[in-house]
């Protein structure tokens, strides 16, 4: 079978880097939010507050790791690792640079979609097993939101897949050598971005954990490292969606010749991570029914139309 797997060393390095980056994002986000809201943000621990994450980690590990007696122990313990595992698995098909990546698979895009759909179990089981009405409400919202936005996420990707003619993410990057897909697929890009925010349930779409209404939503009962897994999992999701946007729409590692490919990739991905934070700082949270109506009545027809036009364009180009 045509699957090229990277060496154990490179797999370990990618895993380690991704987790460290996701943890550091906690500090990055708080500093950037501070910048945009005209305040300082955490700047006490270490230079520029860089060691804030270490302090947070020590705090989180020292906390009592409590399983509520009324919770369903099996599902309660199972839920937090699911989100970490599925998102880290998704990173295995992302091509970071020529020769840097875990696996080159002909089903890369499908694999990412499969893992995204399995991620919904984390929030659902977490909320259901907590036996708490706020957690249950949060996970009900999360389930509906994730299942709905998965649909548009998949359909918005298909335009890129049709243009590139492959599900292989590395080949998708290589096929963008003479023009990134952001121009022909700008509609698909916008839909994918919105669906990506909804899938990683970040503000403004953090309706499953809306603090003002339902305490902390599906992770109300979680403490210690189990809460930390949900928390880091959210940032891992941000990194994953940013990397996917770069790979699918912005030519992956392709860029000016004087920059090393991996630097190019990281720079592009950081722009989108910063954009995610800006979204959080700038846009208020919509109501739950607004979110669902917006998805099904606006994004779904738009993404189908985009797919139809892209398909027609590909056929017309082949006929010429």
């Amino acid at each position: 079978m045509r699957f090229e797997v990277g060496s154990a060393l490179s797999i370990g390095a990618i895993l380690f880097t991704v987790i460290i980056v996701a943890a550091m994002l906690i500090w990055v986000e708080r500093r950037l939010l501070g910048l945009w809201q005209e305040r300082l943000g955490p700047n006490r621990v270490g230079p520029f507050g860089l060691l804030q994450v270490v302090a947070d980690m020590i705090k989180i590990f020292a906390k009592e790791d409590w399983v509520p007696p009324f919770a369903d122990r099996f599902s309660f313990l199972l839920a937090p690792p699911i989100i970490m595992v599925v998102i880290l698995m998704s990173f295995s098909v992302i091509p970071f640079a020529p020769g840097v990546g875990v696996i080159d698979s002909d089903i890369g895009v499908l694999f990412v979609l499969a893992m995204a759909s399995l991620g919904a179990y984390s929030v659902m089981l977490g909320g259901l097993s907590s036996n708490n009405k706020y957690a249950l409400l949060g996970s009900l919202r999360a389930a509906a939101q994730m299942v709905s936005y998965e649909v548009f996420m998949g359909i918005s990707l298909l335009g890129v897949v049709a243009l590139a003619g492959t599900f292989n993410l590395r080949e998708i990057v290589l096929s963008q050598a003479d023009g990134w897909y952001i121009l022909p697929q700008c509609v698909g890009f916008v839909i994918f971005l919105i669906a990506g925010v909804a899938e990683s349930h970040r503000l403004p779409f953090d309706i499953p954990e809306a603090e003002q209404e339902i305490v902390a939503g599906y992770h109300t009962e979680y403490s210690g490292m189990k809460f930390g897994m949900f928390f880091v999992g959210e940032y891992l999701g941000v990194v994953l969606v940013s990397s996917l946007i770069v790979v699918l729409f912005f030519g992956g590692w392709l860029g000016p010749a004087f920059l090393p490919p991996i630097v190019c990739f990281v720079l592009k991905a950081s722009v989108f991570v910063a954009f995610f934070v800006l979204l959080r700082a700038a846009i208020p949270r919509p109501r739950y029914d607004q979110l669902m109506n917006y998805g099904w009545l606006f994004l779904l027809p738009l993404s189908l139309l985009n797919l139809l036009l892209t398909g027609a364009f590909v056929l017309w180009q082949e006929g010429m």
Partner: protein, 160 residues
């Protein structure tokens, strides 16, 4: 690949058995998801990566999510678990046990008489697409009409 096939098959068997004997509905569902994922791995080992991914996306990722979604709204508690345990009395196992024993015998005897070897042929996504939108186009369109009918019916029911 052979090792992958047999280990995934063993996991699928154990998980499916756990679905049947588990008294807690949520645990049974989790086992069912594991079972479906291991079937996806079996498809993969047999050289059908596309089918494997569809199994994971459609069955494990979408249908089971809806099952769990419904279960959340039913608010099942200790009462259901007791009811389930009462249904699981030993005498209940005789009938299904005999029937599946006969099936197992038939299966084993077929396996022994025929020469079965595991020879995976990889079917790529491109091959499947060419088949689906070539000779099987009519079947694809019929299936889409069936789905459309379901969609319209669901819309009608939700409007009431």
């Amino acid at each position: 690949m052979t090792l992958l096939f047999y280990s995934a098959g063993a996991i699928a068997l154990i998980a499916t058995l756990s679905v049947i004997i588990s008294t807690n509905v949520v645990h049974a569902l989790v086992y069912l998801i594991i079972s479906l994922l291991s079937v996806a791995v079996i498809f993969f080992a047999l050289g059908a990566p596309f089918a494997a991914m569809l199994e994971a996306i459609v069955y494990a990722g979408a249908i089971m999510v809806l099952f769990l979604f419904v279960m959340m709204m039913l608010n099942l508690g200790q009462a259901t678990e007791d009811e389930e345990r009462a249904w699981m009395r030993p005498s209940l196992w005789i009938g299904p046990g005999v029937l599946s024993g006969i099936l197992l015998l038939q299966f084993v005897s077929t396996m022994l008489t025929h020469d079965v070897t595991l020879a995976p042929v990889e079917v790529s996504v491109r091959d499947i697409s060419l088949l689906l939108f070539g000779p099987w186009l009519l079947a694809v369109e019929l299936a889409s009409m069936l789905l459309l009918a379901g969609l319209i019916a669901a819309y009608h029911l939700a409007k009431k």
